[in-house]
C-alpha cells in the first residue's frame, strides 16, 4: 500500500499551481504580445512606438503624479488617524476604526456613484476633473492606508516611549526616533497598496473625471479593445515602473519585523 506522506510543504502546492497559472503564465503572454506584431512576428516596433510617442509618456507621467498625490494625501490623512486610534485608550476606538473600514464593504461602483452625485450637487462635476479623480482615489484607498498603519503602530511597545521620555526625548524626537522608524513597515505596505492601484483605477477617473482624465490603466483597457500588442507593451512598461518603485522602496526585503503590516 502506498503511504501518502503530507508535509507542510505539500500545503503550498495549490498556491504554487495557482501562481503558475494566474500570475507567471499571464506575464509571459504579455511579454509575447508586447514584442510581436499583428502577424505574430517578433518586433521591437511596439517598444519604439511607445517611447517615441509623447502622448504615452505624458500619460505615464500624469498617472505617476496622480498616484503620488493620492498616496501622499492618503498618508497625511491616515497617519494621524492610525496613530490616535492605536495609542489612545479610548474605549470605543474599535467603532471609529470600523467607521473608516466599513466603506470597503460597500460596492465600489455604488460609492463612486454616490460621490459623483455629491460632486454634481457641489457643482464640481465636469469642472475640476483632476481634483475629482484624486479625491475619489483618496476616498477609495484610504482604508488600505489606515489598516496597516494602525496594526504596526499598535504593536509598538509602550516601554519604548517611556525609555524615550526617560532619556529626555521630547514629543518631536520621540516621533522621529521611535514612532516613525517603527511604523516604517506599515507605511511601506500602505504606500504600495495605494500607489499601485491609483495608477490604474480608471473607473474613478472615468466616473468622476467624466472620462476627461486619462490614466495609464485606461490606456491599457482601450488598447486591449483594438491592439493587444500595444496594450501589452503599455502593461509591460507599467509593470516595470511598479517593479522598480517597489524595489526601490524595499518592498521585496523579507521584512522580519513587518509585524502584520502586510495585509
Amino acid at each position: 500500500m502506498i503511504r501518502l506522506r503530507f508535509s507542510r510543504k505539500t500545503l503550498g502546492i495549490p498556491y504554487a499551481v495557482f501562481l503558475l497559472f494566474f500570475v507567471i503564465a499571464p506575464m509571459f503572454v504579455i511579454l509575447f504580445y508586447a514584442f510581436t506584431d499583428r502577424e505574430n512576428h517578433f518586433t521591437f516596433m511596439n517598444f519604439v512606438r511607445f517611447f517615441s510617442d509623447p502622448t504615452k509618456l505624458s500619460t505615464i507621467v500624469y498617472s505617476l503624479v496622480i498616484a503620488l498625490i493620492t498616496t501622499v494625501v492618503c498618508l497625511v490623512i491616515a497617519f494621524p488617524i492610525a496613530y490616535i486610534l492605536a495609542r489612545s485608550k479610548m474605549k470605543r476606538k474599535f467603532v471609529i476604526l470600523m467607521l473608516f473600514v466599513t466603506p470597503m464593504w460597500i460596492n465600489f461602483v455604488l460609492r463612486v456613484n454616490a460621490i459623483r452625485e455629491l460632486f454634481n450637487w457641489m457643482g464640481l462635476l465636469g469642472e475640476t476633473n483632476y481634483f475629482n479623480t484624486v479625491f475619489g482615489m483618496v476616498y477609495d484607498f484610504l482604508p488600505f492606508m489606515i489598516l496597516p498603519l494602525y496594526t504596526t503602530i499598535m504593536k509598538i511597545d509602550n516601554s519604548l516611549y517611556e525609555a524615550s521620555a526617560d532619556l529626555g526625548g521630547n514629543a518631536f524626537t520621540t516621533f522621529t526616533r521611535v514612532t516613525l522608524p517603527l511604523a516604517m513597515p506599515g507605511i511601506m505596505s500602505g504606500v504600495t497598496m495605494v500607489f499601485l492601484p491609483s495608477m490604474t483605477n480608471y473607473v474613478v477617473s472615468d466616473m468622476l473625471g467624466n472620462s476627461m482624465v486619462t490614466i495609464i490603466g485606461k490606456f491599457i483597457y482601450e488598447y486591449f479593445g483594438t491592439d493587444w500588442h500595444m496594450g501589452s507593451m503599455v502593461a509591460l512598461v507599467l509593470l516595470i515602473v511598479v517593479f522598480v518603485s517597489t524595489w526601490a522602496s524595499g518592498g521585496f526585503k523579507a521584512e522580519e519585523n513587518a509585524r502584520g503590516a502586510n495585509l
Binding site: 510617442d53 472620462s211 476627461m212 485606461k218 490606456f219 479593445g225 526601490a248
Partner: protein, 513 residues
C-alpha cells in the same frame, strides 16, 4: 486516526458532489443541436417583467407569472422541433458589451455559431473571411417560414443589397460580395442629439447641427469610443461642405458617405484639431452615464444612438416627468444597424439550418414586436404587426395638431397604408421621430465603413492623443531625468556602502572591519 482522516476526506467529497453535479448539470439537458448565440447584453426579449405579454397582463390588472412570458430563447427551443422533423435544439446564449470584445473572443478561438455585431464589424469579419454566407434557401420568398426575407423592411433590404465588402478568396484574390449575403439585419437606427427642449431651442439646434458640440459649453457629452466621436468630429469639421450639397442632387447620400468616411491623413489631422477643441468645450466623454446625466439634468444634450434616445425620453417622462427631444443634424448623420452573421465552418458543424431558423424566428413579426418592445430599439422587420405596434405606441388622432406621418419608405408593400396620425411633437422630434425617422432625415444618414488595420491603428493613436493630456517634450525630459536621478540616489543609498569606492576611509587609528 486513519479512519477519521478517511471519513473527513469522504465527507468533504460528499459535500462537493452536489455542487459538481449542479455545475455540470446546469442547463445541459440533451438536445440534437447546441446553437451558440453571441449577442449584445440586453438585446433580446428575456421574458418575465418588462416583456410584452407580462406588461399587457399587468395592464389588465392581473398578476402575471414568469411562465406567462417566456424568453425568446425558450420560445425558439419549443418552436424548433415541430418545424424541423422533431430535431431538438438548445441555445447556449452569451452576451458581449462591445464589438471589440466580441471580435477578440472570436479571434481567440472561442466557438460561437451566430453573432450579432454592428455594421462595421460585420464588414470587418467578412473582409477577414471569418463569417459564412447564408444559404440560397434562406432567401426563398415562396417559403412561408422564411420570415426574414418575407418581412424585412424593403428600405433596410436595399441597404443590405447595395452595400458591398471585399472577401478574400484564394491567395490574394478579393471578391466583392453584398452585405445581404452575409448578414441579416436585427435592429437599426441613427445617431443624433437627445436634448432638453426647454433649455435648448429646437430650431437653434437644427441650425447648429454638429456645431452643438462647441456651442453648449459643459452641457453636452460625446461618446467615449473612437468611431462615434470621430464621426461627430468629421461632421463638425466638414459641416459647411456637407451643407453645400443639396438633398435633391443626384448621389447625395453617396457624397455624404464619402465625406463621413474620410480617414486619410490630410483629413484626420483636421479632425484631430476639431476633437481637441471639442474636448475643451464638452462636459465629458461617456459610455453609459450620458442617459442618466441627461435625465437627472446634469447636461442638456447627449450625443446618442436613436435606441438609447428613446430610452432616455421614456425614462425622463416616466420618472422625472419632463420632456426630452431628439434631433438629427441637417448636415447628415450616422445610420447604423446590427445584424446576425454565422461564423465560418457552421456548415461543417451541422448547425446552419438551426442558425438560419433562429434568425427567421427572430424575424417572425410577433417576435420582432416582442424584441422591439423589450429592448426599445427599432427592428428591421416591417409588416402589418409592426405597423400596428407603431400605431399602438404613437397614433393619436385626438392630438391638438394631428400630423400625418408617412412611413411608406420603411414598410413598402409589407403593410398597407403606412401612414400614422400623431401629434406634431412626436413626428417632429419625439420618440416616433427617433424610432422611425422620416424619409428626408434618413436620406442624409450614412453608414460608416470599417477601418482597415493600418487606418485603425492610426485613428486609435489619434484618439489617444485627444484623450490624454500631452506634455511638452522638455517637461517629459525634466521629469524622466528627475525620476532616474531619484532612482539612482536610492540605489546609491542602498548599495553604496557595498561598493569599495564609495566606502568611507576608516579614521586614523581605527581598522577597517
Amino acid at each position: 486516526m486513519k479512519a477519521r482522516r478517511l471519513f473527513s476526506v469522504l465527507s468533504a467529497a460528499a459535500l462537493l458532489l452536489p455542487t459538481l453535479s449542479v455545475l455540470s448539470g446546469c442547463g445541459s439537458y440533451s438536445a440534437d443541436i447546441v446553437l451558440k448565440v453571441y449577442n449584445w447584453a440586453e438585446y433580446i426579449d428575456e421574458g418575465g417583467e418588462g416583456s410584452y405579454e407580462y406588461d399587457m397582463l399587468e395592464e389588465e390588472g392581473k398578476t402575471p407569472s414568469e411562465e406567462d412570458a417566456p424568453s425568446m430563447i425558450e420560445r425558439f427551443e419549443k418552436w424548433y422541433p415541430a418545424h424541423h422533423n422533431g430535431q431538438t435544439v438548445r441555445v447556449e446564449y452569451s452576451t458581449f458589451g462591445t464589438n471589440e470584445d466580441m471580435y477578440n473572443e472570436i479571434v481567440l478561438g472561442n466557438e460561437y455559431d451566430l453573432l450579432c455585431p454592428s455594421d462595421y464589424m460585420i464588414m470587418k469579419l467578412a473582409a477577414e473571411d471569418r463569417i459564412e454566407p447564408y444559404d440560397e434557401r434562406f432567401f426563398d420568398t415562396s417559403n412561408e417560414e422564411n420570415y426574414y426575407v418575407n418581412n424585412v423592411s424593403p428600405y433596410i433590404n436595399e441597404i443590405f443589397e447595395s452595400g458591398t465588402v471585399g472577401v478574400p478568396k484564394y491567395d490574394d484574390l478579393v471578391e466583392l460580395h453584398r452585405w445581404s449575403e452575409y448578414a441579416a439585419g436585427y435592429m437599426w437606427g441613427t445617431t443624433g442629439f437627445v436634448y432638453n427642449p426647454e433649455a435648448v431651442d429646437a430650431d437653434e439646434l437644427e441650425e447648429l447641427g454638429w456645431k452643438a458640440f462647441t456651442s453648449y459649453p459643459n452641457q453636452i457629452t460625446a461618446k467615449d469610443n473612437v468611431r462615434d466621436t470621430y464621426f461627430a468630429a468629421l461632421g463638425l469639421t466638414y459641416q459647411d461642405e456637407l451643407l453645400s450639397h443639396s438633398p435633391d442632387e443626384e448621389g447625395y447620400n453617396e457624397t455624404l458617405t464619402g465625406i463621413f468616411n474620410r480617414t486619410d491623413e490630410e483629413y484626420s489631422d483636421a479632425v484631430r484639431s476639431t476633437l481637441l477643441s471639442m474636448k475643451e468645450k464638452i462636459y465629458g466623454f461617456e459610455t453609459d452615464t450620458g442617459k442618466a446625466d441627461l435625465v437627472s439634468g446634469k447636461i442638456l444634450l447627449n450625443y446618442a444612438w436613436s435606441g438609447d434616445a428613446v430610452y432616455s425620453m421614456t425614462l425622463a417622462e416616466e420618472e422625472n416627468d419632463f420632456e426630452l427631444a431628439y434631433s438629427v443634424p441637417k448636415a447628415g448623420s450616422n445610420l447604423w444597424f446590427d445584424g446576425w452573421v454565422m461564423t465560418k465552418g457552421i456548415e461543417e458543424r451541422g448547425k446552419k439550418e438551426a442558425a438560419q431558423a433562429f434568425v427567421n424566428f427572430m424575424a417572425m413579426p410577433e417576435n420582432a414586436v416582442r424584441n422591439s418592445y423589450y429592448i426599445g430599439y427599432t427592428s428591421v422587420i416591417a409588416g402589418e404587426e409592426m405597423l400596428d405596434y407603431a400605431r399602438y405606441l404613437y397614433e393619436d388622432e385626438e392630438a391638438e395638431d394631428p400630423t400625418e406621418y408617412d412611413l411608406g419608405y420603411f414598410f413598402g408593400d409589407t403593410a398597407e397604408d403606412a401612414v400614422l396620425v400623431a401629434s406634431s411633437k412626436e413626428t417632429e422630434r419625439g420618440r416616433l421621430f427617433a424610432q422611425y425617422p422620416p424619409e428626408d432625415v434618413i436620406h442624409r444618414c450614412v453608414v460608416m465603413d470599417y477601418f482597415d488595420p493600418d487606418t485603425s491603428e492610426r485613428i486609435n493613436e489619434l484618439w489617444s492623443q485627444v484623450k490624454a493630456e500631452s506634455l511638452d517634450a522638455w517637461a517629459i525630459i525634466v521629469i524622466v531625468v528627475t525620476v532616474v536621478a531619484i532612482a539612482a540616489f536610492l540605489v546609491f543609498v542602498k548599495f553604496g556602502n557595498k561598493i569599495d569606492f564609495f566606502r568611507r576611509k576608516p579614521k586614523k587609528g581605527y581598522e577597517k572591519v
